[in-house]
Symmetry: C2
Subunit: 280 residues, 2 copies
Amino acid sequence: MKLTIIGVGLIGGSIALKLREKHFVDYIYGVDYSEQHLREAKELEIIDEASPLENAVKNSDLIIVAIPVDSAKKNLESVLALINDQQTVMDVGSTKSGIVQAANLHKNRNRFVAFHPMWGTENSGPKSAISDSFTGRAGVICDKEDSAPDALKMVEQVAEHLEMNLLYMDAESHDVHTAYISHISHITSYALANTVLEKEREEDTIFQLASSGFSSTVRLAKSHPEMWVPIFRQNKENVLDVLNEHITQLRKFKSALEKDNYEYLEELIRNANKIRGILK
Amino acid sequence: MKLTIIGVGLIGGSIALKLREKHFVDYIYGVDYSEQHLREAKELEIIDEASPLENAVKNSDLIIVAIPVDSAKKNLESVLALINDQQTVMDVGSTKSGIVQAANLHKNRNRFVAFHPMWGTENSGPKSAISDSFTGRAGVICDKEDSAPDALKMVEQVAEHLEMNLLYMDAESHDVHTAYISHISHITSYALANTVLEKEREEDTIFQLASSGFSSTVRLAKSHPEMWVPIFRQNKENVLDVLNEHITQLRKFKSALEKDNYEYLEELIRNANKIRGILK
């Protein structure tokens, strides 16, 4: 089977590595605006051939759109216009309502499957790709009833070869849940980094004192704006809703401290500890 | 050499394991109000003997106070009252001004060394103890000029056997820096957990969708109030100062989104990305 990866970065690269390793695909075209990424992807045997979009898409059974969500939305139309009813297109974006709306306008809508593999790191580019990244993670297929059965089955097989736990939901629910579970984590982490950078002018001290706790909460703050600005933009309403709630929760800690109300502070912490039972 | 560990939990237990492994100590007394923790510590060979405070302290060359910072402050006086000028007392608390103030009132002040090993996990109790925990982490000695040279040297040797990178600063600076680097991370993590628990009523969905990013930012929210309420209480002013700044930083993200000002959003993220260069 032949595969096109549009965007040979962290996610696209990791998927390509795994699908080749599992012999699910035997030839991979790479499409990317970055010549350097294409070169690196070839060297790392992520792709067999760097190719212009049209040639790659026309020759592939499966096309995976793995670029930032704003570009993916724009790009999808050209890809759907190039394919026939034997081919399948999927995306891997962190927001789903936007791309599904774009797909819904197209006559080839049913060849598209909206997919979100719930994995990522703060790194980017083909050099960051890791073949086993997805094992045991959640993979979400959205609005499955709008995809042709054979296209859906193709993406289910991809998820299976990536060793992901499949979930199904509608695109709008997906965007609500990921605002809580993923997008807000990135904002708090960015804001935490900015707080420390603002208050702690002695960079050496940050570096020397940084504990594992700090590194772990601030890790996501290394994530690039090219990926995250479009996500926040597409999921603006949900993200704002959760962000407002988060500021409210922080104000409770502030109020407990200001009023020396340590019983309340303890109650807030005990409530947060419940996450232990949920996350294992 | 004989050692007393007051508080055979995560930190006290981990130190005991490592110092025994390195043959720095050959007999360890455990003091704890929890009979169960003492039993577990004995089974795990963290301690040789569970003992009442007075017996343990009188028979030890080194006494390590490894209990929550409010109890440590109270406890220190009784310990210092029991020792002679050949013995050394150190603590391992996450705040330093409070305990140093308590020590300063005592005639045996110079037998005490204020120490903070910058490591911890969200777990507690002797079963969580890990001997190699401290390797490569920062270990901070505060107000070293107030400790006798031989007591200071003893604690420097402890840090060396724990394989920590030693830093020296005054207690007040320590508490300012740790508010930025460690304490605020815990508050944001608690508040994030409370946000998700408030907004996301479907616990199954949290569990199924939780990405590695979410787990990593929310990990600290599992930390117990017994340890953290006293830390926030003792470091109240610094923590409030950083918390206010953090809320200000979050409001900038809110404002950028509300106003669809994506250039500003990108600028905020690019600034946060600078943490990459500092943290490696």
